[in-house]
């Protein structure tokens, strides 16, 4: 069987007219889209980190002047993501929120180390955060048993392995703000909570005594 030509037997003139009509229709559709304001497709990697650009213009501009021109975005992320995508965030400005736990530890040049832990209950990743004495002064509660620590939002440069601190993964903070002050939640004494233990102890000691008597009788 022989090969069928180009447009299956339609003459070249009619085909050229058809192409022209198609081009006009496409141009009209694009023009209409511009007029009614259909948004353009979003750029960036689907599911990737959100890049927090300047929230407002002027004094509130969030572009970090100490960063390189192509590296000045602020990545609004989580503590867990800093570890799971460490190379992506390395040496970039990040913004994370977490609970302050443990203690405030003295660092060099009057600065302090704190530990910020993920607020997500399922993943309690934590990271060392270096901040100034003033910023550390904002923290009223350090999380531990019976204390819910201050929830702090910090913004600064993340290092997967900090050169200044011998390879420690850390954040050098530039700005911080308190999201929630935290609270003391001390245990309240309920005598009833101790009753099962006391009963078990009494039975245990009674059995010990019974064994002692039984052994003495066999001698």
């Amino acid at each position: 069987m022989g090969a069928v030509g180009g447009n299956g037997g339609i003459s070249p003139r009619i085909a050229a007219l058809g192409r022209r009509a198609g081009a006009i229709a496409l141009a009209a559709a694009l023009g209409l889209a511009c007029i009614i304001g259909i948004p353009a497709p979003a750029s960036g990697v689907p599911g990737g980190p959100q890049q927090a650009f300047a929230e407002s213009i002027g004094d509130e501009n969030l572009v970090d002047p100490t960063q390189r021109a192509d590296n000045s975005f602020i990545y609004d992320t989580t503590v867990a993501s800093l570890f799971s995508q460490a190379s992506l965030y390395n040496d970039r400005t990040v913004q994370v929120v977490g609970e302050v736990i443990g203690d405030c530890i003295r660092a060099e040049d009057g600065k302090s180390w704190i530990t910020l832990t993920e607020t997500n209950a399922d993943d309690k990743s934590s990271i060392s955060v270096l901040l100034s004495a003033d910023q550390a002064g904002q923290i009223s509660h350090y999380g531990r048993y019976g204390v819910e620590g201050t929830t702090l939002q910090v913004r600064g440069t993340y290092h997967q392995a900090c050169d200044e601190h011998d390879g420690l993964p850390d954040i050098h903070v530039t700005t911080s703000s308190v999201q929630a002050t935290g609270a003391d939640q001390p245990d309240t004494f309920h005598a009833a909570d101790l009753v099962p233990g006391m009963i078990a102890l009494i039975i245990g000691f009674a059995l010990m005594g019974a064994f002692y008597f039984a052994r003495e009788r066999t001698r």
Binding site: A86, G102, I105, T115, H190, G197, I199, A200, L207, T218
Partner: protein, 518 residues
């Protein structure tokens, strides 16, 4: 023919198991006192209940035999093997009630990891764990590191059966002829080093701005963990939390002291410094560490992140000592182990844990002494091959004086080496079968069976239960160096097998022997 346990054996084993459980209840006094001092009333209720359960179970088991006779070697092995598991079951009860473990199995994993001084933890939200719960975690390290039997013997319990128990708990030798004095010496040395370390680390913590009560507790816990070459830490950031090179240096020294044979501690205290440096195990350990440090430095220098000298010195060397001593402290974040370290450096850490440190210490792993004995055996074989037929080659090694490498020593070293090797491999296969990366599966299997405890990210809350159970077995087997555990398992299987089947095997064996004689 395998020896079966008689009902009399079961009664004796039950009695002494009860004694060990009662002795271990003393350890619960520490979390109870901590809970009272810091007003942690909810944990106090849990630990009082746990103490009651320990007393009831221990006393009830003692009733199995009111006046027990002397323990035989087989009975001693069964007591020791069962004690490590039974105590973990009871110790997990207060932890499971804390709300920091997903289920009882996770709490049991933590307790086995604590007693076997593995130090791998699957606690959730460690930073909010109560002081009482933390105190119990570290008391488990203290009791497990010293050895449950050592603690009981140091109180003068068990009488003449103590020597069998002592040997069954993977203790290689008696420092002084009397086993009770040996255990008391071990306890004194341990408490001395932990005390000194607590003071130094505590002062540094105070200097860092940590409040006095937390400084005292954290320094005590870190010191226990370091000398017991265990690995639990009170903060989720591990040793990195303190941002202190001084604390890391002190911990390295304490870890190294913990992985020296207690006999050598005794020799040093007697002023025989030369014996320490002449010791075969110390020399092989120094050589092993030297080679590893060179290889690791070269590997890290070529890596993308940890390549500058201060980082190699601080992070690399600390990890070398933590892995060598099978302590399991980390001053590198777990994700950094796989992301930032070169694959060579990662596997070197696994190799360090697999080999372990000195025998007769608190460290885990195969132990340097066994490799030393096998090297001596190779030398001996070569000497024999090159000597006249009439010559008798005797190979000596140094350990508190000259000793002969006997066939028994070689057999023991080969057996244990093979058992560790097989366990490492089987654990790695099981990890791979669960879908984990091969290098991570190997690393984690070695970390569990060697009681090293450094984790690359597989041992986390929510890990598969089947894998968790196997790791639990690896920790238990590794701590008892296999022989005691396998002997116990064989005794149990043989004793529970129907006697008709055993009789059939016996008759079959006899018939085969008769045929062979003809």
């Amino acid at each position: 023919m395998w020896q079966r346990l008689s009902f009399y054996d079961v009664r004796i084993i039950g009695h002494y198991l009860g004694v060990l459980i009662l002795v271990s209840a003393i350890g619960l006094l520490a979390p109870i006192a901590t809970a009272i001092i810091f007003g942690e009333w909810q944990p106090l209720g849990r630990y009082l209940l746990a103490a009651g359960i320990f007393l009831i179970a221990g006393s009830a088991l003692r009733f199995l035999s009111i006046s027990p006779g002397r323990l035989s070697r087989q009975q001693a092995m069964a007591v020791t093997g069962l004690a490590w598991l039974a105590l973990a079951f009871f110790a997990a009860i207060p932890l499971a009630g804390s709300g920091h473990y997903s289920n009882y199995l996770d709490a049991l994993f933590e307790a086995v990891s604590g007693f076997t001084t593995t130090g791998a933890s699957i606690v959730r939200d460690l930073d909010h764990l109560s002081y009482a719960d933390n105190m119990w975690r570290f008391m488990m390290h203290l009791m497990g590191g010293l050895g449950l039997v050592v603690i009981a013997l140091s109180f003068g319990l068990f009488g003449k059966g103590g020597a069998s128990l002592f040997n069954s708990e993977a203790h290689s030798e008696h420092i002084v002829p009397n086993v009770v004095q040996t255990t008391q010496f071990i306890a004194k040395i341990t408490l001395t080093f932990i005390g000194i370390s607590t003071v130094i680390v505590g002062l540094v913590c105070l200097g860092l701005g940590i409040d006095p009560a937390r400084s005292l507790l954290q320094s005590l816990w870190l010191s226990i963990s370091a000398f017991m070459t265990a690995g639990f830490v009170p903060m989720s950031q591990n040793v990195m939390y303190y941002h202190s090179a001084v604390i890391e240096a002190v911990l390295v020294i304490i870890m190294l002291l913990g992985c020296i044979n207690f006999t050598l501690h005794a020799e040093i205290m007697k002023g025989r410094i030369r014996d320490f440096f002449d010791d075969m195990e110390v020399r092989y350990a120094a050589l092993w560490l030297g080679v590893i440090v060179i290889v690791l430095t070269a590997s890290l220098a070529g890596s993308r992140i940890f390549s500058d000298l201060p980082t190699i010195e601080r992070r690399g060397l600390f990890m070398v000592f933590a892995a060598f001593s099978t302590t399991g402290f980390q001053n590198i974040a777990s994700p950094q182990l796989t992301d930032a370290l070169s694959s060579g450096a990662f596997l070197i850490l696994a190799l360090l844990m697999a080999v372990g440190a000195c025998s007769g210490s608190t460290a885990g792993g195969i132990k340097i002494r066994r490799f030393g004995i096998l090297v001596k055996n190779i030398v001996s074989t070569l000497k024999e091959a090159l000597s006249p037929d009439s010559a008798r080659v005797v190979t000596m090694y140094n350990h508190a004086g000259k000793r002969v490498v006997t066939p028994g020593l070689i057999r023991e070293a080969t057996t244990v080496l093979l058992l560790y090797g097989v366990t490492y491999i089987v654990g790695a296969f099981i990890g791979i079968a669960h879908g984990y990366d091969a290098s991570q599966a190997i690393f984690e299997s070695v970390a569990m069976a060697s009681n090293g405890g450094i984790t690359s990210g597989i041992v986390v809350p929510g890990m598969p239960a089947s894998l968790e159970l196997f790791y639990l077995f690896e920790m238990w087997a590794g701590r008892l160096e296999f022989v005691t555990l396998l002997a116990l398992l064989i005794q149990l299987v043989v004793s529970l097998t129907p006697s008709r089947f055993l009789g059939w095997i016996h008759a079959h064996n006899e018939a085969r022997e008769k045929r062979a004689r003809r």
